[in-house]
Amino acid sequence: MSHAVLDIRDLRCERDDRELFADFDLRLEAAQALQLRGPNGAGKTTLLRCIAGMHPEYEGSIRLLGVPVSGDQLLFVGHRPGISGLLSAADNLRWHLDLAGWRGSGGVVSAALERVGLIGYEEVPCQQLSAGQQRRVALARLALPTAEVPLWLLDEPFTALDDAGLQLVSGLMAQRLAGGGAILFTTHQPAPDLPGLSTRWIGAAS
């Protein structure tokens, strides 16, 4: 039997004495995308962090391709996206490559930045970019070769993006899906058009 990319069973998780999840199941196959929806404070971010292993206080089982989750099998872009404002976009991405132990040529960095429309901004400290441009730097990680992992976890990736940026990012997501990846993401905005997209509500609608 082939394993689902992501398989969550009987998840129970509480925060501040409040139960966020109970008996929560979720299954995500290859080439599937799932949008998490729910009111503010419902626990979407918490769920993503549980999956990524950054919030260990839960009960239940979370498995990636049938085994416990390991950090190098997924790509997580959170509210705080891991981009240093003091470094340039290129330096930031190069570090992300290094972090994953990528040994190929650095040319992929400028390719990724070109992909998200940041040509000419490669060497500007990210602090000096606009909010949307900073987001684009963070999302350029999706265009790096190290992004070819089974699972993407994207927490409100569309924040601060203009329409073109939205197209870009959903293009990257579609491409990953076509490549057999699975994507779990949250957004309060209308979701983009993606093949294999479904929606899952979390928490009582407020």
């Binding site: 950090g71 981009i83 570090w95 994953a100």
Partner: protein, 234 residues
């Protein structure tokens, strides 16, 4: 060419990448290399001004003064050591993706040492000279600093990692870390003082060397563990 994680080459890439990043953050331009050097000279100047400018008195204090400057330099950058990374999500990515986390931690500590311990060690003969330190004590002092400052940085790193998510950064951190610094301080100072009074300084230096090798091999694990906790709290 995705390296299989854990292969030797990708470990090296991971280490080098972190070191490059951190050095870039520490020294945007080559001219900034002078800042730590100038910093130490300023700190040293405080002692003749604050305590006494008499050559004899200064000579006696010199090893202690230099070591206290080392503690100070280590402490000063400590709060920011992981805090910025935590605030912008970099730390999360490190904890998540670095396999093993040990390596970027070592690289980070090395970078911090290169801004604090290394310049002080290199300057030690000059600073010692300015404080009238006996010439025969200068080499042992330098050796002691070379061996001891990495330990300071590592121990400081544990403190910084433990307090990374906390409100009361500065003072609490110093309070946690300073007592841990004491043995290093004592060994380092006594090496220089022994040499200054014509005795053999190898004893404390050997102890320091042992401590350093032990710290380098073990402390980064403690730091990595503390960082994981810090990320989970966030």
């Amino acid at each position: 060419m995705r390296a299989s994680p854990g292969s030797e080459a990708s470990l090296w890439v991971l280490f080098r990448g972190q070191l490059r990043r951190d050095l870039k953050l520490a020294f945007g331009q080559p001219s900034e290399l002078a800042n730590p050097l100038a910093f130490f000279v300023v700190v040293i100047t405080l002692f003749p001004l604050g305590v006494s400018p008499e050559p004899g008195v200064l000579a006696g204090m010199a090893p202690g003064v230099l070591w206290i400057a080392a503690l100070l330099a280590t402490l000063l950058g400590l709060e920011a050591l992981f805090r910025r990374d935590r605030d912008d999500g970099t730390l999360e990515q490190m904890v998540l993706r670095a396999q093993p986390l040990y390596l970027p931690v070592v690289a980070r500590m090395l970078a911090h040492w290169m801004v604090t311990g290394l310049p002080l060690t290199l300057l030690a003969p000059v600073l010692g000279g300015m404080l009238n330190l006996a010439p025969e004590a200068r080499l042992p002092l330098m050796l002691g600093l070379a061996l001891g400052t990495p330990v300071l940085v590592l121990l400081g790193g544990v403190g910084a990692a433990l307090t990374v998510g906390l409100r009361t950064g500065g003072v609490l951190l110093a309070l946690l870390v300073l007592p841990l610094f004491v043995p290093v301080l004592i060994l380092g100072v006594s090496a220089a003082e022994l040499a200054g009074s014509g005795l053999d300084p190898t004893g404390p230096l050997l102890w320091l060397a042992a401590g350093t090798s032990f710290a380098i091999t073990t402390v980064p694990f403690a730091i990595a563990a503390a960082l994981r906790i810090g990320v989970e709290t966030g």
